[in-house]
Symmetry: C2
Subunit: 414 residues, 2 copies
């Protein structure tokens, strides 16, 4: 088993490295220079040991870009998939991961309007967010409300924009409807629950691990353990099914979700975290998921009056360039924030150097709300009981780092 794991890792690596890299990230190892910065670098696809904090050349803004002194970064399940290389067209490592951050504008490139030095901002970044400084096109940058903390801002952008667009752009959430959300305790799940509460009389069915129930019970109408037969439970309460299913798991939840839909209901797949089954073997899980996921017959949708959708905010931003639509959504969300109708839930803050522990926590689905990398935070000293084991046996260990049980090492849990 251990042998197999190692073999697969090598082969996976080979398969991914053959992909052409569009924007290679230069990996500069140097020191002392004022034009350097700390960043989390992913040396290659694989386990936690592929991650390290190192010095890199500081980027300078191109025309149309904003340079941000980063205060906090969001850590998402997708970052795990990036680490493993289980995403579509991954860039060639070494790369700096991370898709969102908050911070202070340090400078702006030529022909860049709308932002000034010292503005407090949150931003989407097409990789490179987990660093002390990032540059990103002005279309992906938004001003932070005064009362919002940097940690909140880093927890806000991706989760709330995704939740809002799925509920109100892809589906059409209205009064009296019902929503089923998987991973109800996660960042998107909590954003979905809050946004549903802005519409009268919406029933939210949440699915989450048992140990989160006490913490999130008030955020949803009905809460189920992820290990029970949720279909049966939902049908007991709502025999006709639900109007919207939000699924970040994929796998057999797709078929179940479609079955649970009421006529004219919408199933939205917005992630495939079931593809991540272990530390490193997941390219094959990915391929398997792709082929084994239940394909949908359009004639069946016709007969049943059902809708199936896919939603990837990152593709929408960086591939499909729907920046002005996302901006208009962000405006609505900031309005709801000002009205105190929504508020990002921060699970915990981690130093850049603690990224492995943070990743392990999200891998183990231990978080309630968002994990944040706090760039200015110093790492919490390791405890004697910490070990180097990860949850996948047989992984090659390059460094004696990593922390299997992140619950033992919770530097700053909100």
């Amino acid at each position: 088993m251990a042998k197999e794991g190692a073999d697969m890792t090598e082969e996976t690596q080979y398969m991914i490295d053959t992909n052409v890299c569009k924007e290679p990230v230069e990996h500069v190892e140097s020191s002392g220079d004022a034009k350097e910065m700390r960043a989390v670098v992913l040396a290659g696809f694989g386990g936690l040991n592929k991650l390290r904090v190192t010095k890199k050349a500081m980027p300078e803004p191109q025309g149309g870009e904003v340079k941000i002194r980063v205060k906090a970064c969001g850590l998402n399940f997708l970052d795990l998939m990036v680490r493993q290389g289980t995403i579509d067209n991954p860039p060639k490592p070494p790369i700096v991961p991370g898709f969102e951050c908050s911070g202070i504008v340090e400078s702006v490139g030529e022909n860049t309007t709308g932002f000034e030095v010292s503005d407090r901002v949150m931003a989407f970044v097409n990789y490179n967010a987990w660093a002390e400084v990032v540059c990103t096109p002005v279309d992906f940058v938004y001003k932070m409300p005064e009362e919002m903390t940097f940690a909140e801002a880093a927890a806000f952008s991706l989760n709330f924009v995704a939740a809002y667009m799925m509920l109100f752009e892809v589906a059409n959430l209205r009064e009296g409807m019902s929503v089923l959300v998987h991973s109800a305790g996660g960042g998107v799940g909590q954003a979905v629950a809050q946004l549903c509460s802005t519409v009268p009389n919406v029933t939210v069915f949440g699915i989450a691990s048992c140990f989160k129930h006490a913490a999130i019970r008030d955020s949803v109408t009905h809460l189920f353990d992820r290990n029970v037969d949720y279909m049966q439970e939902v049908k007991k309460i709502s025999p006709e099914g639900v109007d919207i299913v939000l699924d970040c798991l994929c796998g057999d939840n797709t078929g179940k979700g479609l079955t649970l839909l009421r006529p004219l209901g919408t199933y939205i797949l917005y992630g495939a975290s079931n593809m991540v089954t272990g530390e490193t073997k997941s390219f094959f899980s990915f391929a398997k998921s792709w082929w084994q996921v239940e394909k949908v017959n359009p004639i069946k949708l016709y007969e049943e009056n059902k809708v199936i959708a896919g939603f990837s905010l990152l593709n929408l931003l960086f591939k499909h360039r729907k920046c002005s639509l996302v901006k208009s959504v962000m405006d609505k969300l900031l309005c709801l924030y000002d009205q105190k109708k929504i508020k990002p839930v921060v699970d915990s803050l981690w130093a850049l150097e603690e990224v492995k522990e943070a990743m392990q926590r999200i891998h183990d689905r231990g978080n309630i709300g968002k994990l944040i990398l706090d760039v200015e935070k110093s790492p919490t000293p390791l405890m004697a009981s910490d070990s180097t084991e990860t949850s996948e046996a047989g992984e090659e260990e390059e460094e004696p780092e990593g922390d299997n049980d992140s619950k033992e090492r919770m530097p700053f849990i909100h």
Copy 2:
């Protein structure tokens, strides 16, 4: 080939007759009684020769039902598929086809409120519409505007409700969007074009047979011949694709439609007329279409930010019982009609006795707008050149009836 056709018909008949019939329609042959009425009866699934006009016992309204003296009935492509038995769970023949009509309320059943004798109404009926009298639950009956003719009313309900719900309930048509509609000259196609014109700055790409172009050119923004590579033509004009694709054909148009979608765009399958390839052989076409239609991988939808939906108004009404939703849509449509923003397009009026010719016309896609069965109309005498051939060679001919070239016999073309 002729042999094969006959064999298939027999086998099809066998396969369909084994289905359990939920509501058998009694076939009464008698005469003179005041409690009888004329109706179109489908004796069995198959070709045009399975249809005849005969006398039947007049229905009486049950509790919650309205009895309507029918003036006009709508003829839809779906009625062809019913005739051939190529629908999901067809009832057991003999049956009276027809799903919509207009007329005058003759009586109401017990506990039936909202309608009075002599009200001018339009109604959905779960079969049995093609008769002098129908009874249908009050939830499916709507009062006609004063200035609406019976022919218009019979052309209104199904097409406009379907078009409206697809554009505004399933998709979310808004200012500046683009819509591609197949069969732009048909009843739904013309309703879609009119409803799109109620939203500012909507681009409509219509696909229709060349000979219809002169008649419908003004109703759409761009018009393409159904025999050209419409994908290439659409991409020339709109390289990013379109926001909404409405497809009543199925087959390879599903894949093409999905490819043509812009990010966050919605493909809606609302019919499968490509399943109807001839007069009688289509159960196998149906099975073939079901299995051969391109299944959709949800992960692909995720990566591309796309939505695929199916819409069947009849299932929504009679199976899913979304009556109050449809009622609210009808209210909005009647408001648009009163404002003269929409107006049903009637292709032609036919006597009940001319149902075969009417069906042949819709089979040949010769219509522009809706075909109407006018219950009070007398049939146009056959011309000497009329023949009994239908478009499918080898069909068993029980009666020397039918008219292959309905264009030679156009009793009342609007």
